[in-house]
């Protein structure tokens, strides 16, 4: 009896082991790029039904790419804004977040703060904010996105901004990818929303409440109207999720203010391609308008939503 049981387990094990080896090869990371590529190929017999083929060809996948925390921090820095530690989500708040929604939002928020501190060479704060992001990722059971090695690597390379940016980018992508590929895309969206709101909050606070202080920064804030549309479209795909419904409510409050901001293309969008340098320049003239009242209402609403997210 025992012998039969052992044999049964062995046969089962061999089948599963075979599958395991195949699936491991699909996800393993190695430096052999052609190996990587071969691993993820799968082939299926073509169906003879032309209608089915037509439907297959019609299938369309849509990605909505929001400005990442790193891109937003770069935009803030390039607009000439300064560093202000007081506007960041305090490190001490990290123990306050216990729900998936709060941990996801604050993973995005701490990622934005991490990007901002990293780009402004705030060595100690950057390491501390990486620690906060790590804690949020662990709380969400995101495996291996941020580990002790990441923090050591960051500590060892704090004087090399290129490597710091690389580490920040890598950790954000790893968290994002882990959630998407482990059937938790709604959580991934919450992380993106948190990061986007924090970026908008940092930018709006850095204006010091004035539309005149930094026109380039004001411009970046105004154009977040376009990203807000992208974000609302992104959330629409997960609108059955209660947490996403809550976020849709918040973003619609913001939308009602952004609707009073005007962005008009005053010329046709045209492009000029430089084949030799492999670069295309997109040319268009546009005008924006925001009244003082709308600007103040926007800053107030962003601060209100962000306070709710971090509390």
């Amino acid at each position: 009896m025992r012998k039969k049981l052992l044999q049964g387990i062995k046969i089962f094990s061999i089948i599963f082991l075979g599958q395991w080896i195949l699936s491991s090869c699909q996800s393993c990371s190695n430096t052999n790029s052609s190996g990587e590529q071969d691993d993820v190929v799968e082939s299926a017999e073509k169906k003879v039904d032309p209608k089915l083929m037509e439907d297959f060809n019609k299938s369309k996948l849509i990605f909505y790419s929001l400005p990442s925390p790193l891109e937003t921090a770069m935009l803030i820095k390039r607009s000439g804004a300064r560093f202000n530690e007081e506007i960041l989500n305090p490190i001490s708040n990290v123990t306050n977040y216990n729900t998936n929604l709060k941990m996801a939002l604050n993973l995005g928020i701490y990622s934005a703060d991490l990007s901002y501190t990293g780009l402004f060479d705030q060595t100690q704060s950057t390491i501390q904010y990486m620690g906060c992001a790590k804690k949020m990722a662990e709380g969400l059971s995101i495996i291996d996105a941020i580990d002790e090695t990441t923090i050591s690597k960051l500590q060892d390379n704090m004087n090399n901004k290129d490597i710091v940016m690389e580490i920040i980018s890598e950790t954000f992508m790893s968290s994002n990818a882990y959630l998407k590929e482990n059937d938790r895309p709604a959580i991934s969206v919450m992380v993106l929303v948190g990061g986007w709101v924090e970026g908008l909050y940092l930018a709006s606070e850095l204006t010091n409440g004035s539309m005149e202080n930094n026109k380039r920064l004001l411009d970046k804030i105004i154009y977040q109207k376009l990203s807000l549309i992208t974000m609302l479209n992104l959330m629409e795909s997960y609108s059955e999720n209660e947490d996403i419904q809550y976020l849709q409510g918040k973003m619609n409050e913001l939308k009602s203010i952004f609707e009073q901001v005007k962005i008009v293309n005053t010329s046709k969008v045209e492009s000029e391609t430089d084949t030799e340098n492999k670069v295309t320049t997109i040319k268009a003239e546009s005008e924006t308008y925001i009244s003082k009242e709308v600007f103040e209402a926007l800053i107030k609403k962003v601060a209100e939503i962000r306070t709710e997210f971090i509390s």
């Binding site: 052992l6 387990i9 094990s13 599963f16 082991l17 395991w20 699936s23 699909q26 990371s29 190695n30 430096t31 052609s34 990587e36 590529q37 071969d38 993820v40 190929v41 082939s43 299926a44 017999e45 073509k46 060809n57 299938s59 369309k60 996948l61 849509i62 990605f63 909505y64 790419s65 929001l66 790193l70 891109e71 770069m74 935009l75 290129d162 940016m165 950790t171 954000f172 992508m173 998407k180 590929e181 411009d219 154009y223 376009l226 549309i229 992208t230 293309n265 969008v269 045209e270 492009s271 084949t275 492999k278 670069v279 295309t280 320049t281 997109i282 040319k283 268009a284 003239e285 546009s286």
Partner: protein, 148 residues
Amino acid sequence: MKNRKKNLYLVIWICLICLLPVNSGAQCVSFAKNVAKIKLGEFVHDGNYNATILGTGETAELYKTFFAGETYRVTVSKIETLPNIHFRLMDNDNNILFDNKKHDYVDVWDFTVESTQMLVLKIKVLEDPNNQQSITKGCVAVLFGIKK
């Protein structure tokens, strides 16, 4: 002694089975990290992950705001066995601003924008003329880099 050996054998097999779920979720992450991201060169990857499995003939769209004054490097990478990918950058009115078909289906290109625009990147995995019998599927990753 024989029983102990069998038990050890049993434990090893069970441990191996337990490891099974660890790698079953990941699909295109390692491809995006180890193949696509490298194509961004000296540009900083923005950290967003846009990758999926597509088959020959399938299409996808990506919506992104391109900010004024920035230079973006876009890579539309695919596994080697997939046919070329045709991608076009379009504005809101469906005007084609760039078409990689005119550039031998190049998979990396830079874009500079003079005023902030929401643009759409439309991609299509081409049909494979050498393989009419089966549909090849594999990872496709669209990554954005920002000039330092």
